[in-house]
């Protein structure tokens, strides 16, 4: 059966990758600032951040296209800094796929094998095997321009994996794909990465991509890793305001610590509401803080409850199975509340007058950033 994935090739072994205090500057501009990251064998780590955060530079350093200003890249206990890109055994899938337009699909896949001096028979067999792996049998003689975006990406993956790389680098691989195709390809890449036991780095600015396929996410900003953790940790326990704002959507409320004890704090918000918040960070009574809360951890009510904020409902948007409410406090602070929508429920169900924390809500406290 052609749909059945071949077993893991026996000659493949996962290799760990370590970035050791890597810094890189372009002229005076520091693009990567002392980044240390240990990628475990067989793990997929996403470097997630806005453009210009240094994630692509880091990827190019691992591939060997850029020589870092300082620090070391270690693949399987071997420092590879002195090796040119063609000797690092790193597979890359580019955003543009970078398929050779003058070669057929088969020639593209065989390129790396021929460069390594593999025999014609090995090349032919490996090409066949890789085409089966990415479910593209029958496309061997097509030119890249005759393929759809998703098919091109499958070929790019097959080409990168044909040489049995030790590390797989994915540079914004889904950016050029339709939304519907994107999820399919994410599943496909995750499947192949597991099947080949590859240690992989995914560079992306799209949090959904990172969330869906990464084992761990390194959120980057201004050349540094702000936080490294599992997708759930990053979402539920952001360590900095930057991570909090960059991942998912979030509401900010200014407040002051009223009382503190054993990691539990009472926070008086500007609207007058008093929230009980737990935090591992130390705060003292009187500290000015920012309390953040995800829209789905807030509920709208039509009566005042403990810790509720009096609000006006401005607008409700039905987004699929969710309702996003745009609300405003008396003092004019705007924020969002998300709630599941029952089938048949209209977009504006009620005249809400108050907003309260959901029972499971976990607001997060951050020190007030210096203005």
């Amino acid at each position: 059966m052609s749909l059945q994935a071949p077993a893991i090739p026996p000659d493949i072994q996962s290799q760990p990758l370590t970035l050791d205090a890597i810094s890189h500057s372009y002229g005076d501009a520091l693009a990567v600032n002392e980044v240390t990251l240990e990628v475990r064998a067989g793990e997929l780590i996403a470097l997630l951040g806005p453009s210009g955060c240094g994630k692509s530079t880091l990827l190019r350093i691992v591939a060997g296209f850029i020589n870092q200003t300082s620090g070391r890249v270690v693949i399987a206990d071997r420092v590879v800094d002195a090796l040119p890109p063609n000797r690092r055994e790193v597979g890359i899938v580019f955003q543009s796929y970078a398929l050779f337009p003058h070669m057929t699909v088969a020639e593209n896949i065989a390129y790396g094998l021929e460069a390594r001096g593999e025999s014609k028979t090995t090349c032919r067999e490996r090409v066949k095997e890789m085409l089966a792996t990415v479910r593209m049998e029958g496309f061997a003689d097509r030119k890249p321009r005759q393929l759809s975006g998703g098919q091109q990406q499958r070929v790019a993956l097959a080409r990168a994996l044909a040489v049995r790389p030790r590390i797989l680098l994915l540079d914004e691989p889904f950016a050029a794909l339709d939304k519907n195709l994107r999820l399919d390809m994410q599943i496909e890449i995750k499947r192949l990465q597991r099947q080949f036991g590859l240690t992989a780095i995914l560079v992306t600015h799209d949090q959904d991509e990172a969330m869906s396929i990464a084992d761990r996410i390194a959120v980057m900003s201004k050349g540094r890793i702000e936080q490294l953790g599992s997708p759930v940790e990053i979402y539920d326990q952001p360590e900095t305001l930057f991570v909090n704002d960059f991942i998912g959507s979030s509401n900010r409320f200014a407040g002051v610590i009223e009382s503190a004890g054993e990691g539990a704090y009472s926070v008086r918000l500007a609207s007058g509401a008093l929230w009980q918040v737990t935090s591992r960070k130390p705060f003292a009574p009187g500290d000015r803080v920012v309390a953040t809360i995800r829209p789905e951890q807030l509920v709208l009510t039509d009566e005042a409850t403990a810790g509720s904020i009096p609000v006006t409902l401005k607008l409700s948007l039905p987004i699929g199975g969710e309702l996003i409410h745009d609300v405003e406090t008396r003092s004019g602070e705007a924020f969002k509340v998300a709630a599941g929508r029952r089938p048949g429920e209209p977009a504006s169900p009620m005249a809400a007058t108050h907003c309260a924390l959901a029972p499971h809500a976990r607001p997060i406290l951050f020190p007030q950033p210096a203005a």
Binding site: G64, F65, E89, I92, P101, Y111, A115, R116
Partner: protein, 283 residues
């Protein structure tokens, strides 16, 4: 797209092209026809019919040699410009915007000077007492000054500099459009720099090279000023021959035969490169 619409468009396009078309007809096609008739004439009054001029031209090994020398000059100039243009084009696409502007200026410089001045400058460089020979003598690389003027080597060197922009501009234009991540992909897949050039950059840059080679070939084979001033009396190419026959000997039918021959030879060379282009696209 309906048939009526295309017919209408075609009509409009034809009328728009009419002024230039008529100009070409009167000042290009008609003189060409006169030239062809002249080559079969007895004298310069277009009188009579004779194959004498054609027989004399193609029967004489000297004139056949001139045709061959002219074609070879074109091919050697194309080969030499190619050899020097690729490294410059590779340097260009690898450079930052500042260096690119400087390189482009240097490349275009020959086009900004008059052909006559450029050619005389090459005499100053290539002559026995010239800059090149003095440098070679001073460095001890040669004991006697090299004879470069009135040699094919000297002519090719001069033509190469003069024609370089014609090769480089199309080559750079095409090479700039090659996705830089293709080189990265080749390198990451284990390809050496040389393999990356040979298997990826070179085939993808071929359309630019073919355009450049066509221009350089057509231009080098017909470069009358450079051929006469640097080649002198010792080297005779078709343009020089035509000038001698038409303006010195006043044998117009014979000059017409040489002209038609030059035209066909250049067209043959140009179509050869065009054919290579079609082959490269389908391959």
């Amino acid at each position: 797209m309906s048939g009526a619409a295309t017919g209408e468009t075609a009509g409009v396009e034809w009328r728009l092209a009419a002024p230039l078309g008529l100009t070409y007809l009167a000042f290009f096609a008609a003189p060409l026809l006169i030239l062809l008739v002249m080559s079969f004439s007895v004298d310069d009054n277009l009188g009579g019919f004779s194959l004498a001029a054609w027989a004399k031209f193609w029967g004489d090994p000297f004139y056949r040699g001139v045709v061959w020398d002219t074609l070879r000059l074109g091919l050697v100039t194309v080969a030499m410009t190619t050899l020097f243009a690729y490294p410059i084009a590779l340097l260009f696409i690898a450079s930052g915007p500042g260096l690119q502007r400087l390189l482009l200026f240097i490349v275009l410089l020959p086009l900004l000077t008059s052909v006559v001045i450029r050619t005389f400058a090459w005499i100053a460089i290539l002559s026995r007492e010239g800059v090149l020979n003095q440098a070679l003598l001073a460095l001890g690389l040669t004991t006697a000054p090299l004879n470069l003027l009135q040699t094919e080597l000297g002519l090719v060197i001069a033509l190469m500099q003069i024609e370089m922009p014609l090769m480089l501009l199309p080559l750079i234009t095409v090479m700039r459009q090659i996705d830089p991540s293709l080189s990265d992909a080749s390198r990451a897949l284990g390809g050496s720099k040389w393999r990356t050039f040979r298997k990826v950059i070179l085939p993808l840059s071929l359309p630019g090279w073919i355009a450049g080679a066509t221009l350089v070939f057509a231009s080098a084979t017909t470069a009358f000023i450079s051929q006469t001033v640097i080649g002198g009396a010792r080297l005779v190419y078709l343009p020089t021959l035509i000038w001698q026959q038409a303006m010195v000997v006043y044998n117009w039918p014979f000059a017409a035969v040489a002209s038609v021959t030059l035209l066909v030879a250049v067209l043959a060379g140009v179509s050869l490169f065009a054919m290579l282009g079609r082959f490269a696209r389908t391959a």
